[in-house]
Symmetry: C2
């Protein structure tokens, strides 16, 4: 039901997705009348909900008032009830990001060893591939431990969805030298080096904003404030450049003629930077797989989000995140308590220790 | 002497600048043999130095060892000795940014009411104008008070160099609502609203990364970590887009032919996003005007940095920064001490109060 266009975009995307993946099954969650067109589809079932979380609903409304919303019912399909398997392996929504994160966190809870879930997305890079980045806005203030967890979760994501066995992890900073950045960033660098030494991830060191696009790194780790600013800055610049190209080619009948001749080139260019190809952000660190499509997604973009979600589920992303976090917590020397206290995180560290014990 | 190309680029830029500005005078600081070509120029004098700060010299080397470097001698031209007027009104360097900031700060000291200098630069926007942004890397951890000072200094810069009387100031955040962001950002928003209510600046509220490029704001305020990441992200994306456009137009003889036809359009496009037009970052908050050219600047770019510096000096940027800071400190209600302490900044606030008293 979510996003700017709702079922008018989501249903065609789902139909195309089902045709492309003969082993996939879909649960379509929403107002039955809006999903009536999909009732007869094979490998598809409509799960009714009576309400819809709107794009401008507060988290409060999504969590406490709309208890039978399509978003909430969809996420609840990931919960196993009374020991039975969950109805769904992964949930995809184009709805309100803040509400989706809050509802997911409330219903699913975080994984052992994870303090905070994070949002990971991908951006195209110069080599024709793409770069995964997290966090993109879920967490404004992060400790070094959070950044390490993001790196581990992001590594699991890239191995599962992109099939790269040893993704190169970079810590977003304002210089390549280890002495650069805030105390939190420097400490995060230390933890990442320790995790790399313990064989848990492939840390290549600090990276800068331009490295997001040059293909030198597979995964860029940062706090949610910086990640969100970088993402929106890139979106803003891309919009400006496309606007200027359009204006310049539309300036006269002569430039318009050239534009017609250049159309195949411009189309290829647009295809290579088309953000619709990269749609589908992962909400990582929860006890269930949730993917977020851009609200403005068209059918092509939404189908890409479905594809990413499907790959994540098929390649057992949830297990990969869990295993990597637990292995790292077991492999890495425990921080002295004063360091945990200095990071303002001593309680969380305590919880982590207990969680590991439960898992072990 | 600074930058990737040194005098081979800087001398032609200076010659062209002098021709364009009949009232300007230049002091060229550096190794006399490297500047010999300029000895006979009118309104120009060579000031000898015996050393050069290299791009990879540490701040330690620039400050303590190379005491007769061209950088240090150039900045010292801004100091008034024994009550006499300073030899220069503004200093421009293409050298090592960290060294330039450290040397400038050491020799010039900060203005009354300024805790930390900041680096401000401009980026093109969609409306054909540009957006000024600070801090771009001088300050990694900032308090709300620092961000307020950046807003005031940036406002003075935009009024002086761009001639906009009431620049629209935005606080870089991850959402437009006042409740978004970290505690520091929220408190900075409060201070900016207070300063606006006191008539000291034109605060339009929170802005997001994309607003840097859409022309909705004249001045974007952020801490140096976020600013540096945003700047480098934009540079990286621009590089990628230009690379892809080149690759796509170079794909075959047919696309190359189209590229020739599209050349005037592509040139106009390139001109509108050409960062050389926007060269010349200001080091603000010091008791002297220092401008930093990009190290890779060519003569066209370096001349633009000279132009910006000249406009800043002509339009009394130093007085404007000083006046605006003092007026704001006098106009704004003093923070209760517990808020200052919460921001970890009680000592700085104390210093500020003393400085105001001295100035008054």
């Amino acid at each position: 039901m979510g996003g700017d266009h709702g079922p008018s975009v989501i249903l065609p995307a789902c139909q195309s997705f089902l045709a492309a993946h003969p082993n996939a099954e879909l649960l379509l969650v929403g107002l039955p009348e809006a999903l009536a067109g999909a009732v007869a589809w094979p490998r598809c079932r409509v799960v009714p909900a009576t309400e819809v979380v709107l794009m401008d609903d507060t988290i409060e409304v999504a969590l406490r008032r709309k208890k039978n919303s399509s978003m909430r019912v969809a996420v609840s399909q990931l919960q196993s009830v009374g020991g039975a398997a969950a109805a769904a392996d992964v949930c995809v929504s184009a709805g309100n990001t803040g509400a989706l994160m809050a509802v997911s966190r409330y219903l699913l809870k975080t994984l052992d060893g994870i303090d905070r879930p994070a949002i990971a997305s991908v951006m195209p890079n110069q080599t024709g591939g793409y770069t995964t980045m997290l966090d993109l806005g879920a967490n404004v203030d992060c400790t070094a431990e959070h950044l390490l967890q993001f790196a581990l979760m992001g590594t699991a994501l890239v191995t599962a969805v992109d099939g790269k066995p040893e993704p190169r992890v970079g810590l977003l900073n304002i210089g390549e030298e280890a002495i650069k950045g805030s105390e939190t960033i420097k400490r995060a660098g230390e933890l990442l080096r320790q995790a790399a030494a313990a064989g848990q991830l492939n840390f290549i060191g600090n990276v800068e904003g331009n490295d997001i696009f040059n293909g030198s790194v597979d995964l860029v780790v940062c706090d949610g404030f910086v990640g969100n600013v970088a993402l929106k800055t890139a979106e803003g610049l891309a919009t400006m450049i496309i606007t200027i190209i359009r204006e310049e080619f539309g300036r006269s009948w002569l430039t318009k003629l050239v534009a017609v001749l250049a159309l195949p080139v411009l189309k290829r260019f647009k295809g290579r930077v088309d953000h619709r190809r990269f749609n589908g952000a992962a909400l990582l660190g929860l006890r269930g797989l949730v993917f977020k499509s851009h609200g403005s997604a068209d059918a092509f973009a939404f189908e890409n989000a479905l594809n990413r979600a499907y790959d994540a589920a098929r390649n057992r992303l949830l297990d990969r995140v869990h295993d990597r976090i637990i292995a790292t917590l077991l492999a890495m020397p425990l921080s002295p308590p004063n360091q945990g206290a200095a990071a303002g995180n001593s309680n969380d560290s305590g919880d982590q220790a207990i969680n590991v014990a439960q898992a072990a």
